[in-house]
Symmetry: C2
Subunit: 106 residues, 2 copies
Amino acid sequence: MMKIGSAVEALAALAQETRLSIFRLLVQAGQQGIAAGVLGEKLGIPPATLSFHLKTLAHAGLVKSRTEGRFVIYSADFSAMDKLIAYLTEHCCAGDASRCAPVKKC
Amino acid sequence: MMKIGSAVEALAALAQETRLSIFRLLVQAGQQGIAAGVLGEKLGIPPATLSFHLKTLAHAGLVKSRTEGRFVIYSADFSAMDKLIAYLTEHCCAGDASRCAPVKKC
DNA sequence: TCTACGTTTCCAATATTATAGAAATGTTAA
DNA sequence: TTAACATTTCTATAATATTGGAAACGTAGA
């Protein structure tokens, strides 16, 4: 079971326009991921700022990185995303099962 | 379709331990909701602080309130929660359908 | 080895957010 | 109407986050 501290950290990481944009690009890219430089170019943010935000997302457990040559490839951690969503909706709608339809993830 | 600004606002509202606790209590309470005073008592936070956080959650669209006598009853806005989750997971796992199993909401 | 390039760290200025006491507001019951 | 109670607004202080330039680091190809 997720601890509240981890959930707050993950939510805080996502609660910032630049980081949310990064994360959504990575979610859409899937396991393949996107290189840091490509992200910076797509979003038009300077290297230092990008690095800061990626570090924040990685520390929150929402993204992983791997090195390929001199590129660092980032990708979303889908299991972390699922756990966060589960934490938010845990035991929801008690006594009102009609509101509890499954939500398709994508 | 959700705008990024609304998503950031909702995530920021949830990215705070006190507010996340409030929201989860309200999610579990369902449509019935919980009075402001009861929330304050359950969580041990002073009235001014509670009011500040409830206002933040309400402004982000995550909670609704209704007045009953001299009590103000708060409840989670489940449709806002669903939209936020959909925004996060939108177009996820492109080209890797195996990771896209439906997630049950509760 | 040397050079080029992608990425990260360091740092300082600026902006935003959390907290809670005290006072104000609004509602109910007597 | 008056007194009691629930909740919100006002206000100031303290803590935390964002930004990007400059410099450092590490990898790859010549």
